[in-house]
Amino acid sequence: MIPATFDYARPGTVEEACAALAEAGEDAKVLAGGQSLMPLLRLRLAYPDALIDLDRVAALREIRDEDGALFIGAMATHHQVMRDPLVRAHAPLIAKATATVADPAVRHRGTFGGALAHADPAGDLPAVALALDATFLAVSAERGEREIAAADFFVDWMTSALEPDEILVGVRVPKLGAGWGVHYEKFHRTAQAWAIVGVACAVRRERGAVEAARVALTNMGPTPVRAAEVEDFIAGRTVSESSFREAGERAAAGTSPPGDLHGSSEYRAHLARVLTARALTAAASA
């Protein structure tokens, strides 16, 4: 199908983009890579009055080193992120998870910020941002900049904390120091498919024990969720198959996974337990 009509603006700077978005009003939408939005427009599941296209806002594509953190611009494409030397060195979990997103053509257009702002519970990057305690930087013409913690960014199913007049500028990701191993475990039935369940995991080892772990789950509820019980259980235990299995048993606690044609909610709970044990094992040996 052909999208319904809309006005179109192609700003060159963040300031121009904010002004255009404010002027276009509540029914305008930001267009990033279009890899989620274009299908929605074509299916007429969305019909915004105006699109503010960030494609030519070059400043938003930047990935930079900020001492203890990396700043990843919202318009950095998946293709760019998974190859970026800074990301690979200091946030390898992001590089690994991004490599599992969609396919090469989609990754050429789709963006890091778009995948987060879209807040799809089946998206791979929200759980990763949550596990890494990322901070989101948003800006609007009227209220200027503000920071949003990952734990507050994902509000509900396909709903982020961004206001209609706000643009996500980028995400600050604390660098993982030495001793951390990471893994993203994604379960899907066919190639180029969304996660039925995914587990983002970072483990810090010290002398044969797990000193700390960060675990967040994809598609186990309307938003990505932190598996706090797993993290608490595994901290301080020795690195062993049985401790990872026992930790995994706690992964579905407090979650409300959806049931759909890919799997029932009970099946997803089972997957979360098994995949969490696998993710911990892989991260601890990474």
């Binding site: 179109y8 396919d103 053509a105 050429h108």
Partner: protein, 164 residues
């Protein structure tokens, strides 16, 4: 209506386009480049894959206005003076198509893959083409064709003739 200037398969076009016009519709309906088919509404099938500034994109998920100032290559831009591109020839010779609907997209995605990796393994070929669906062939011959074309593209035809 915004005005766009796009280079498609080596020729420059200037047109007024509605913002909602998809690149794939611009190519097919305005420029008559019907070599690029449309297979879905969801950006899943990859049939519409073209190169934009050298990178593969699904042209059903790009607006024509977004192609302004950019260079597009479709499957129609591959053969030169009636001589098939090595990928086109390999698809033909390895029977990598049946109905042919997926073929233009497959070839463009394969071209993108070979740009990054001149000598991919079967596994890497399958991953590189994961965004392109074929409902006929079962993919075996597609993988074989890409491997064969990769070999030819690494060794230009001239050299092959002297070293059998």
């Amino acid at each position: 209506m915004p005005r766009v200037r796009v280079e498609v398969d080596g020729a420059t076009y200037e047109d007024d386009v509605e913002p909602r016009l998809l690149l794939v519709h611009y190519l097919r309906d305005r420029l008559g480049k019907v070599g690029t088919p449309i297979g879905c509404d969801t950006t899943n099938c990859g049939a519409c894959t073209v190169l934009m500034d050298g990178l593969s994109v699904k042209s059903c998920s790009v607006l024509a206005v977004q192609a302004d100032g950019r260079e597009i290559t479709t499957v129609e831009g591959l053969g030169i003076d009636g001589v098939l591109h090595p990928l086109q020839r390999a698809f033909h010779e390895e029977h990598a198509l049946q109905c042919g609907f997926c073929t233009p997209g497959m070839i463009m995605a394969a071209l993108d893959l070979l740009r990054e990796n001149a000598d991919p393994s079967d596994e890497e070929i399958r991953e590189g083409l994961e965004g392109n669906l074929c409902r006929c062939t079962g993919y075996q011959n597609i993988v074989r064709a890409v491997r064969r074309a990769a070999g030819e593209m690494r060794t230009p035809a001239r050299d092959r003739e002297v070293t059998p």
